[in-house]
Symmetry: C2
DNA sequence: CGGCTAGTTGACTTTAGTCAAACACCGTGG
DNA sequence: CCACGGTGTTTGACTAAAGTCAACTAGCCG
């Protein structure tokens, strides 16, 4: 059936768990993966507190993950594109720590975790890749912390756009023209800004002809110009020794 | 010699890699661990770009980890207490992604990584514990992102103090009275605040008799009162739907 | 057509940052 | 023993960046 694309011919496998596995190893992995029907925008694949039985790999579309505070406030912790793995934060308790919601019609590969863990004892390359992916997530979150703590609103948004651009490019899509599947509010939530600030800065960058904004459609007109804007701003803060 | 405390009688093993390993498994682990001489304040155990050959477990004292941006700006990503594992962020590239510096005279257990990885193929409990520790680090960083993005200066500092308190308590030390081994500047750097703001808020909490500040020595006079301060403040922001 | 959500823009406010000055603490060396 | 320099901390006065509040527009879908 149509949902059954295999890892062997998946164009995102170099970003995903199969990276650096041999063909035979990939085939073993492929056998345990479940590919379900597409998800509609708004549908959740993980919810806080639910038992973690599988990890998910984004097959197509996009997702947001968010945690929720005691008072019900959301904090978006990441946006996921094809090839990304979802669920690492739940492995410590074997129950999900965050919510993950489809931003558009999307598909995922579901990877039963106990099987994956079992396989990793006999396949060192698989174990190493899992470790690598988790380690990358830790490093990435550290970079986000610096972005939020040390950069102003415009710098955060430019970083965000450039990061999206690079990730689209790594997936064989255009890095200069893409659709935002998240709202301005979701971008702001992630970056610690309000909707208004996000909107104002996108308008400003648009006016400067650095980007072209047409609703959800974003074109990066001058990536160099955008990077220029980053280095222009105050290079050192007093918080740094 | 005096540096050779073993995992078997280490009082932090329940927080560390040995957790949930059997006695015989701990003994295998213990054999690969190197215990070097104490580190002086300011000494680094990891530096960006250096090959990662070992992970480190804090044995005594405390550390800060920080990443550095292209323009030399530091972002502190965490403070480490006994039992904490240092180095997960470097596993993806097999080279360290951050700097880790002793804040006081401290000792670490050095765990050669290839040996640890080899062991994890035959010891599922070890593999699971490593995964658990990495997963916890991911979850923790997500919580920090929410703290920085959604909480004001006072809330960040109270959270920071309560978190330190809980961690000291989990290590059998007083959760109500402790020494800050980091400077106000380092606290501010971590929380995205300036030295002045940190100082002002500590003074304010001191004046409110919620804490007592005497230089580096902090006493939490009313943990309930501090938590009260958290829930008092604006419960919902407009960034949340 | 009407109602809803998302997005934009303007006017005003607030929080934390900046700049500056002074103090405390600590180790060094005369 | 005390003077000195350095780093860390505190406090005050002022500023600026982003948040808040509000009004309005643009799509979208029933």
């Amino acid at each position: 059936m149509e949902f059954s694309i295999r890892c062997q011919n998946c164009s995102f496998s170099h970003l995903c768990i199969p990276f650096s596995l041999s063909d035979s190893e990939i085939s073993v992995l492929d056998d345990i993966i479940r590919r379900n029907k597409p998800l509609q925008p708004g549908q959740c694949i993980t919810e806080y507190g639910k038992p973690l039985t599988s990890l998910f790999a984004v097959r197509s579309g996009s997702f947001k993950s968010y945690i929720m505070s005691a008072d019900g406030e959301q904090q978006i912790t990441g946006f996921h594109l094809p090839g990304d793995i979802i669920g690492f934060d739940g492995l410590s308790t074997q129950s999900h720590q965050s919510f993950t919601q489809a931003l558009e019609t999307s598909m995922v590969c579901e990877i039963p975790y106990t099987m994956l863990d079992d396989m990793s004892s006999t396949l060192p390359a698989l174990r190493r890749q899992m470790t690598k992916l988790m380690s990358e997530e830790i490093s990435h979150e550290q970079q986000v912390l610096m972005l939020i703590n040390k950069r102003n609103a415009q710098e955060r948004i430019i970083h965000f756009l450039l990061n999206l651009s690079a990730r689209f490019k790594a997936r064989g899509m255009s890095g200069s023209s893409f659709n935002l599947t998240m709202t301005r509010g979701e971008i702001g939530n992630y970056l610690g800004l309000t909707v208004e600030t996000v909107s104002r800065i996108l308008s400003k960058l648009n006016k400067q002809n650095l980007i072209s904004v047409d609703g959800k459609l974003i074109e990066l007109l001058s990536i160099d110009g955008l990077k220029e804007e980053l280095s222009d701003s105050a290079p050192l803060s007093s918080a740094c020794r």
